[in-house]
């Protein structure tokens, strides 16, 4: 079996500007939604209490809301989780709430409601301080990933590649966040892990293309820079599609079989994979071109250095 039978290099670079404008628009939209709607942060970041209760039959949400309101938790959010039988209750941290006892009180409140009795599936209580630390640690991790990858790429390739790869991949990350902001999907710790993994994954993709660019520059003397980029992308395109297809199959299995917890994790990865292909081919490569990559940067004559100083 073979999918790709490409006779000539595909002229990706000819449309580079168009794609980058599209990218820029998506990026700006993502930033806009992040700024206006914000992320729907999970209890791990905001602090608060989260209780998952499972009923044997479809749960009635209104009596639960009412009972909790009477008990002094009017700001409790009650919603279905996964199925009609599972209920998720969220409560923000409050000064006057004895946070350590909340789960017990809520469970006893639920037990006082008529009808089927619920079974406690999961309780998560996170203090406000812990949430803040998680958020700063997450930001630190992101920063460290960016710096580490840039340094590695700059050392292995050239600074132009490092800069364009990082811009292209941050663009992916922002777009994933934009999706989460727009749809108000829950942004939890596993999702953060997915986002950071996407950063590594998406750079991975750019590196494969860049690797080919470097090789082509060394091998073919007469090619112009856009042609080199086109050739590099075209000759790796079958690998790009197959690899991402395979990873996506795995992620799809997680989306289907992984349940509620892995759902958003897999969703973040799906968006990351789609934009990862797009950005490494159509954002990172043109950026490298515009930053002025050329053959000379890879074939370094030793004596020229002195002249360059003058």
């Amino acid at each position: 079996m073979e999918f790709f039978r490409i006779k000539k290099d595909i002229p990706f670079m000819r449309h580079a500007l168009v794609f980058n404008i599209i990218s820029l628009i998506t990026f700006v939209l993502a930033v806009f939604f992040l700024a206006t709607r914000g992320l729907h942060l999970s209890v791990e970041f905001t602090g608060g209490t989260l209780i998952e209760v499972s009923y044997t039959e479809a749960a009635q949400l209104d009596p639960i809301r009412q009972a909790l309101g009477n008990e002094g938790y009017p700001d409790a959010q009650v919603q279905n989780f996964g199925s009609a039988r599972d209920v998720l209750i969220r409560m923000p941290n409050r000064e006057d709430l004895d946070t350590n006892r909340v789960s017990e009180r809520v469970m006893s409140t639920l037990a006082s409601i008529d009808g089927p009795k619920g079974e406690l599936r999961r309780v998560e209580f996170v203090g406000p301080q812990v949430g803040k630390e998680l958020a700063t640690d997450g930001a630190m991790a992101l920063l460290l990933v960016i710096i580490g990858i840039m340094l590695y790429l700059a050392a292995r390739f050239e600074w132009r590649f490092a800069v364009s790869a990082i811009i292209a991949n941050l663009h992916d990350v922002i777009i994933i966040l934009g999706f989460f902001a727009f749809f108000q999907w829950e942004f939890s710790l596993p999702v953060l892990a997915a986002v950071l993994a996407v950063l590594g994954y998406s750079v991975n993709e750019s590196v494969v293309v860049f690797d080919r660019v470097r090789e082509t520059f060394k091998k073919k003397r007469s090619m112009s820079t856009p042609d080199v980029l086109n050739h590099a992308i075209t000759s790796t395109i079958s690998r790009t599609v197959i690899t991402h297809g395979s990873t996506q199959m795995m992620v799809l299995a997680m989306l289907i079989f992984g349940g509620e917890t892995l759902y958003y994790f897999a969703l973040a990865l799906t968006i990351g994979i789609l934009f990862g292909i797009y950005s490494s081919v159509l954002v990172a490569s043109p950026l490298v071109m515009w930053l002025g990559v050329s053959r000379e940067q890879f074939i370094k004559p030793k004596k020229e250095k002195e002249e360059a100083v003058v």
Binding site: E44, S103, R122, L153, P190, S235, V251, G259
Partner: protein, 621 residues
Amino acid sequence: MNRYPLWKNILIGLVLLWGLIYTLPNFYGEVPAVQVSSGKATLKLDPATVTDRVAEVLRSAGIEHNGIFSDISGVRARFASTDVQIRAKDAIERAFNPDPQDPSYVVALNLLSASPAWLTSIHALPMYLGLDLRGGVHFLLQVDMPGALTKRLDSTTGDLRTLMRDKNVRHAGITREGNTIHIRFRDSAQRDAGRSAIQGSTTDLQLSDRDDGSDDLKLVATLTPQAQQTMRDFAIKQNITTLHNRINELGVAEPVIQQQGAERIVVQLPGVQDVAKAKDILGRTATLEVRMVDDTPGAVEDAIAGKVPFGTELYTERGGLPLLVKKQVVLTGDRLTDAQPGFDGQTNEAAVHLTLDAAGARIFRDVTRESIGKRMAILLIEKGKGEVVTAPVIRSEIGGGRVQISGRMTTAEANDVALLLRAGSLAAPMEIIEERTVGPSLGAENIAKGFNSTLWGFLAIAVFMCAYYALFGVVSTIALASNLLLLVALLSLLQATLTLPGIAAMALTLGMAIDANVLINERIREELRNGSSPQAAIAAGYDRAFDTILDSNITTLIAGIALLVFGSGAVRGFAVVHCLGILTSMFSAVLVSRMMINLIYGRQRKVEKLAIGQVWKPGNN
């Protein structure tokens, strides 16, 4: 050209065999067991004698066991079924704790790995499952360090007072103000005497002079940074020990109690469902304090009116009577070696019998001798709030370190207080700042979900690879399977905690690991397309793809390591598997698949065609 030397084949074979052996324990599952551990902080459990005793008890009761094992935490016996397990537990319980009111040992039901002994003996253990996969409770506790510092300074204040008296230095009052201790003097000669006395007795204090007026000379003492650091370290260690003892009372198998950061402690209790009980035992940050009662006439009335006399605090005695207690602590729970519930010999009231250590006994003897006729308050401090348990009048000097607390207690309360005190007091109060509970059915569901998504994802990739790359696809699939094998073996060996995000990382890593094989296979096809001979195409394909694989995996690894360093909880569980998976995937994609290809094609002198699927050449369509 495509041959590995024999040693390389053997080496790869050995690595795979190692992977298989260390993966094995995960398939055996768990068998019911009974765990015996020490029930008292004072009782040291000797594994050898306890093992013999357990064996003896089981033999005389006619119960068959499948082996008895011991480690630092206790002794465990395995059984064939849960019925036998429960009978065995009852038998052992009866033999080890003849008095159920005063258990010396904790006998608890447990689950042990069912893998054969030879696997266990080479430390091949199943993966440690996180709470989200097996159910249980997770607590993150914050140690109140400022509180510990205040407590330490308060006791230092008392020590200084004694020191001044012993050395005959006249002072005009010693008080703690914030994080400093102020000692007032009337003249500088006394101050110099005081300074040299303090410097002669301790190196933990930094002293500085302060003159607030001609007749108000002060010595300001602060704890040195080293002393503060030692105090912090001690506080967290003491609290961990105390938690160990308290959790032991719950009879939990394999609890996790670890320090996290400078002032936090993680407690994980797998399988615990009675959260309220667990919280109660953990959260009761009770410490015992013995202080003197201020019986100055009229002082209590003043205090109730809002004018609490200097150096005292107002408390409520059990039963509601107000009581004025001096701030100076005579004795703390640290000096306690044992506490047992019981009854007062004369009144037959419920009581708690305390035993003090040597230093505590001496202090107690001195204080009781000096204060005959006065009242002494025994306070239980819980979460910063004190309660006077009892305030008896001292009739005579109490020596020997045996003290009894009684008064308005029910038997159950006496039991609780004794348990609390026996388990040891905390060096500093703690607060639960994070709590997670996962039901056992949810845990089993999570495992099934994670397992299914990995399985189906793997199958989809395998089918595709075999269809697309033919024989090379089969080799890639085997390489991918060996990657999974090595990853599981490595996780089992490291006893890293596997969580649901960890399983997700496993699935994602497998999805990404196939990239290396795709790179190689595509490269070989390309070489063939450009007219290379099959053997040359294999060699060039593997060699050229290697650089790319290295670069792309290192960038991914950088991201993984950042997650590992800065992540916590779910993120860290993800990162561990992700990082290890990248390493194993490089090994399996490059070396294992190359070895197989070499074994298939390397032996043939002339290879006509590679079974790598269709290779289309631009010239011949």
